[in-house]
């Protein structure tokens, strides 16, 4: 055991690349909501690319190293202190045995990743250590006092001490999307683009729920359920779209009018409740 969770903050989960290719048994992919930030953390500490990290929602995490560890923080810039001393993000942070790392609340973005050199090595479930909040598969959400096992130190050495990254947006998040597969179900196809949406506080890892002037559908007939992708913009009967994130259901019966570009879905996962969201067609 190598890392003790002293406090989880609002919510802390283990996440990795998720479960790939299990749709035939009804299991979705899950995995880190902001894949780019999660992957950067593993690169900084020279972990294997599929190592599990802690995904921290809105800061508040406190951990204690039970042996000498090297960690890195990526994603939402929650102010970090180690035994009272401020530490930077996107950089290697050495933790001596007994040292405490505490995160404040980020002033932008939603999810911070704590990568630990060696990775968090709880038992995988169906090939992954990700917690799928929709299906309940994977390790349980972290709780105060839990001990997390850290894996063997990788042979590779960290490539750099610090990585230049773009911070999550504080203002409107502009997400590029491709129309379809069911954009013909919209009475006015340009409305998703001309509307400034607001992220709802009912958003979670399943989907970013948007509020704003409802969109109208050409007909209310339900579709036979069809497969959903991460990034799908689905239009439920109320007309306010849901942008699906990591723990989205495999299938859905409401029309998907557009799909956010894969590279932009990570930024969508950093949008905070109340933040404006705009879509740009590409």
């Amino acid at each position: 055991m190598s890392l003790t969770v002293l406090a989880t903050g609002p919510r802390a989960l283990l996440q990795d690349a998720g479960r790939v290719g299990l749709a035939s048994i009804g299991v979705g992919r899950s995995g880190a909501a902001d894949r780019a930030a999660w992957a950067l953390g593993n690169r900084l500490v020279a972990n294997p690319p599929d190592a599990a990290s802690v995904e921290v929602l809105l800061g508040g995490l406190r951990v204690r190293a039970e042996r000498n560890l090297t960690v890195a923080l990526t994603g939402a810039p929650a102010q970090a202190v180690v035994d009272g001393k401020p530490m930077g993000h996107n950089a290697l942070i050495p933790l001596r045995a007994g040292a405490e790392l505490a995160l404040g609340t980020p002033d932008r973005g939603l999810r911070t990743y704590l990568a630990v050199r060696g990775g968090i090595v709880v038992d995988p479930v169906l090939g992954s250590r990700s917690t799928d909040t929709l299906s309940g598969i994977g390790p349980p959400p972290l709780e105060d006092g839990v001990l997390l096992p850290v894996g063997l130190t990788p042979a590779d050495h960290p490539p750099a001490d610090v990585a230049p990254v773009r911070l999550p947006e504080a203002g409107p998040a502009v997400l590029r999307f491709v129309p379809g597969p069911r954009d013909r179900r919209l009475t006015a196809p340009d409305v998703p683009v001309t509307t400034t949406w607001t992220a709802s506080d009912r958003s979670d890892r399943i989907g970013l729920r948007l509020t704003g002037k409802p969109l109208h559908r050409t007909d209310d007939a339900e579709l036979p359920s069809e497969g959903l992708v991460r990034g799908a913009i689905q239009l439920p009967p109320g007309g306010e779209p849901v942008l699906f994130l990591a723990d989205h259901p495999l299938t859905g019966g409401y029309p998907v009018v557009g799909v956010v570009r894969d590279a932009d879905v990570d930024r969508a996962a950093q949008v905070r409740p109340g933040q404006p969201v705009r879509f740009r067609q590409t």
């Binding site: 790939v20 290719g21 299990l22 749709a23 035939s24 048994i25 009804g26 299991v27 992919r29 479930v125 169906l126 929709l134 299906s135 309940g136 598969i137 999307f177 491709v178 129309p179 379809g180 597969p181 069911r182 036979p224 359920s225 069809e226 497969g227 959903l228 992708v229 990034g231 799908a232 259901p249 495999l250 299938t251 998907v256 799909v259 956010v260 570009r261 894969d262 590279a263």
Partner: protein, 204 residues
């Protein structure tokens, strides 16, 4: 077959029938295309999810050219028998919608040779087809916020067993003690695509 745009890392293929969708999904899986990350068949569609940066035009052409068997995908094993207590809250409504008596609904449900078309909705949730067409009923107008694990339901052309307690809109016929999903079992899902299923009535 129609290929519909579904973002920059997937293509949604639309076909005419459920059997075509199941057969196309099987063909895409069998082709083991290197860019394909997952295949999600549903009632009239097959979603093919790719790695980022895949050439979707090439994928469309490849999938459109795949040989697709029109025979229903069935596994040649004995049917999985699922014991059901027919005490569901929607039995009377199903009977009045179908014009059958409650006893006839049970007889038709247990008398049908069901087959797993595809999985979805939640882990271990298997969409069963090939039931008696008289059992086709719409979903409930208002989905229940909680359907208990083991509930046996009907919706459209499908029957299914809820593997775990979830919200759900299907009409409920009864319940079973069978464990549809157990993460610690190998395989975790009791039912796989192609499996045949028979429901057997038992007393509570």
């Amino acid at each position: 077959m129609k290929a519909l745009s579904c973002g920059d890392a997937a293509v949604l293929f639309e076909v005419g029938t459920l059997d075509e969708a199941v057969a196309l999904a099987a063909a895409v899986r069998a082709a083991e295309l290197s860019v394909v990350v997952d295949v999600v068949p549903a009632a009239r569609t097959v979603l093919v999810v790719t790695a980022p940066g895949a050439d979707l035009g090439a994928l469309r052409r490849t999938v459109s050219g795949l040989p697709v068997s029109d025979a229903a995908v069935t596994r040649e094993a004995d049917p999985v028998e699922i014991s059901v207590v027919y005490d569901g809250p929607d039995l009377d409504e199903i009977a009045s919608f179908t014009g059958l008596t409650v006893d006839e609904v049970i007889a038709v449900h247990t008398g049908s040779g069901w087959r797993v078309a595809f999985a979805g909705f939640s882990p271990g949730f298997a969409y069963l087809v090939d039931g008696d067409p008289r059992l086709q009923v719409p979903r409930r107008d208002e989905p229940r916020t909680r359907v208990p694990a083991g509930a046996v339901g009907l919706a459209g052309e499908f029957s299914a067993v809820y593997p775990r307690a979830t919200p759900g809109g299907w009409q409920l016929l009864g319940h079973t003690d069978a464990t549809l999903w157990d993460t610690d079992r190998d395989p975790p899902a009791l039912l796989a695509p192609g499996d045949r299923v028979r429901f057997v009535q038992v007393e509570r």
